[in-house]
Subunit: 235 residues, 6 copies
């Protein structure tokens, strides 16, 4: 099997994280998975959603957007159409759930952190890049709070896997994703636990052994992403 | 371990499917997973979405809604609020993808089938009941078309699994779902292939062996649902 | 004259009311006027609209919806279109006004009751079925409040009348309604007083004696509905 | 009984119609029912709604609006709130139905006439003034079409009646309407036929003899309005 | 050069202001610039926007609308389309800014004045007529407050200028505006200071000397408008 | 006088233009005016708005957005709120008009170019940076069309000027803009002609000599921007 990208089946695209990219935000990172570029910012707000008021707990949420010409052909601007698509809402719910899985909301206290993930350029894997980069922005923002005990108790990253031409492959780019038979997004913590697994058969249903192989690939990829995140935060 | 429902860990709730419940629709089924009741209708429309026109292919799509007082406390009506929630959109996209996985859209021809899944009463598992019942309504509607070769090439059903109190359990009701540590929805075909796996850690991340145990439970549950579907369609 | 339904000019369709149909609601009823089936639920909320706060008075309001395939051909889902039609709003305003005419809002106290009328299947007369069934759900819900003095001081039911082929007829079904020259909805209390009269000429203007004949028919029909309501509430 | 307005129970407010008030519209009239002032314009458009295309039939429709400070205290502007209220939609549907009752849509041909009724100043009875003035604008606009046979086959006007302090009265102004026990709008043609009757009990249900008395008052009032319309059109 | 209107290059259209046109508003004026007629009302509200609460300051804001048939051909009603156009929002922001430039918001106290400018008939220059007439309505409304010291410290009026056929001209009507090469709106106070200058090249870019000539024309025109405003307020 | 930025009254911030920043767009540029960073992309679409179809003419339009955390404190996302603010619409209308002033739409042919200006980081002057950078993206996109005769007949750039502490200054940053007494945006072509002048008094009205001084400053600043644009396009 030969992937369109020329990568080995278990190879990530070049991944870089540029922390502190945005001047105003409490936390930020520009993350690149190859030609997929996502600007992640984390904003601290000293209030929580209504249903948490008085509970002593905080909240972490995410919003996601694509610049209209981040894509091969221009997409309509969601602000102009007056609503976010189902896909956008599904992705931002996923990012928010994934990041909350790493944070002790009680230790955070009654405040919110909003993680905005805006895709400047898209080439597949924007949601996994958003989670991986959003984690870095989130950690930066929390660090500015000067809390005695960090509410971050885990490390979260995400990667896509799929079946391309019958072979399980890691980190699909747009060309691969368009023709993959199965597309799976996996979010894991540093202990190898699963935060989220979302696998969709695009062409034919996938068998249990294919599922197992994809999860193995994902686990190895995410361990690399955890290292890149740690370096970005240490830098 | 003892489930709130008193069921064995691998036991479904009583499942019934009442086909032909709605007088006007080409296909319909009232499906009950215990106290979860969903009215599924399938409507044939002799047109396709714009991007398919002239392609010779048809389309299958789904919409999902909950009656305002299907739930323990009344929810606002989405029509009155002027938009569908992210959850609603996510669920109807899942139902649509799952049902399309069983249909040869070229054999369907240039027409659409809209499967409406409306929750009359909710007690957990509304999306899996919608997929399972929606499949029956879809098959009924397609049968009315009198096509020489049926475009339905697979059988699709769905069930939820989770980790309750440390133990993997099948088909969570509302009380169980509220406190489950992990919630996973699995859609499978009659050959045991996966159409969709969506597993979310609610409390702590789940380990690989927990994932495996949940998938085993789901597979056994879905085989029972396939039989109930077949009986409903044979009736 | 022979009606399409074969009924006598002054004959209702078979009317049944199944109280307690919905498990979660404080009050509920599935009402059937022939093939028109409406699920009515009444939800108690311990708050009132802003303009009543502090007044000591409560509120009764209604919402109305049709399942997309309750009708002969599928209608677009209002939640998906992002707004309720003028017809929907007109009907739910009518239901709300009619039910409030039977309730002493001061005796109800500072709480709201929301009556949801969702049409599962439509064959003409959905608004009159909604009022008639909504009254039963409302009474059930109020009974759960355990108030010393019931705020319900009247009994309210509704029926449609029209001129079909020159003859005044009672309780038009869809086939009759489509070709009727006049369509009138009448809401009355148990003392024969009018709560609401809405008569629209569809074909030609109706004369005073036709109006009188329609009101006579409506009065007789509503007396039967009052008995059916009373039996459902007594059951 | 003494009305707040000092008028006799069967007296209209001073009614004037100023045709041709708006320079650009094909038909227009400023109608005044006392301090209620409505600007009605009729616009001819050489197209019909989609469901009539190719049918050879035309369409008459109406839109209604109130200037934000036409009322005693300022109302929010519907354009700014992003939606028309249920009341607005109910009124414009009523105006449209009433005016269509006077027009042979086949004789009109495949074109539309949009009647806009904008309330410059409100003091009760805006919907009946809109119908009465809208009819004049509509006739003017149709006259500009130069059709051989006029599609206008009837004359339509509207008035409100109510029970004030136990007595049936004609043409309620705002002060009377606010405290009336019953409010009824009646639309009639020149032959005394009813186009629309909408009577709502505000306080207590109204009896059959009260209904009869209100209809008698309305009939007499509308005969006067028909004369005022005819003079305006003859002018 | 000969203008379509036959006016001299520096001549205003006949301008009239009819104060107190609307019965309910605290201040009102019907202003006519030739065939452009705008009804301006000013409403006092005893609250301020959230960001001013507790600041001791008040607010002046404006809303703008056109009746659907104020124009040569009918425009869609913004309330029916569910949103205000960009043009509408731009104009109402301009009117609000211009009027605030004449008012000491601290002296006004914690209350708001909403100036509604509704175009009854349009023939070019609706935004400048709105500012000029809105000022009169605003002054009337403020006078009703009985404040010891008037918060109005300046006089504001507006006019359009443009280059028509190579010549700078004052107060363009619709026919002139449609073919003008440049369109400029100027808002000035009674001391000849500029509140707002908005000049747009429609055809070719305008030179500095053309800009200067237009500003000279505008200054002279606005002095006349200030006199007409003063007479209306003195009347 | 000493500006907060320490710049001379007639000094621009450091301006850089990075053309070709976005991989997928036909034209793109990342423009920086100091800490204001705007990503401009130009997308070619082989269709025009409805009102131009069949006219042989093309169209150039612009859309504008700010990333939620481009600003000092986070702004709500317009896509999530479901509408673009009046400010956004006003700015994108200004950008579109300005760019169209440099293009012969007939020579462009029946196609559209959409220029998206997305603010990654804001520090004052985002609209003038958008116009200046958008021009570069537009020229790049048009160059890809391979037209014999370029439809670009002019060069367009924009800058802000204002009165700070009584002195006219060029290119205000956020700190200066917040306290400026007057804010003026000027769009000019390479021949020194004005495309657009928009000057707003924030504090007190500005005098004619202040206006003149601001226009002089703007002219000198724009000549520098024209050189920077030319270098970016030549590179």
């Amino acid at each position: 099997m030969s992937r369109p990208s020329g990568r080995a089946a278990d190879a990530l695209r070049p991944v870089t994280i540029e922390p502190g990219f945005a001047r105003h935000a409490e936390g930020s990172a520009l993350i690149r998975f190859g030609d997929t570029h996502v600007l992640c910012t984390a904003s601290v707000e000293e209030r929580t959603p209504p249903w948490l008021r008085g509970s002593g707990k905080g909240w972490v949420t995410a919003e996601y957007g694509m610049l209209p010409r981040s894509t091969h052909s221009r997409m309509g601007r969601e602000a102009a159409r007056g609503k976010q698509s189902g896909r956008t809402q599904e992705i931002q719910r996923l990012i928010g759930r994934s990041l909350r899985a790493a944070v002790d909301l009680t230790a955070l206290g009654e405040r919110s952190i909003v993680v905005d993930c805006d895709v400047l350029q898209a080439d597949g894997g924007t949601r996994t890049a958003s989670i991986t980069g959003g984690y870095v922005a989130l950690c930066q923002a929390i660090a500015t709070l000067g809390l005695k005990r960090s509410p971050v108790f885990g490390q979260v990253a995400a990667i896509s896997v799929g079946i391309y031409n019958g072979t399980p492959v890691l980190d699909l780019d747009y060309d691969e994703d368009s023709v993959a038979e199965t597309d799976m997004n996996v979010v894991m913590n540093e202990a190898g636990g699963f935060i989220e697994v979302q696998g969709t058969a695009e062409g034919h249903a996938y068998r249990r052994e294919e599922l197992d192989a994809m999860l193995d690939l994902a686990g190895a990829g995410i361990r690399q992403l955890h290292q890149i995140q740690a370096q970005a935060l240490a830098g």
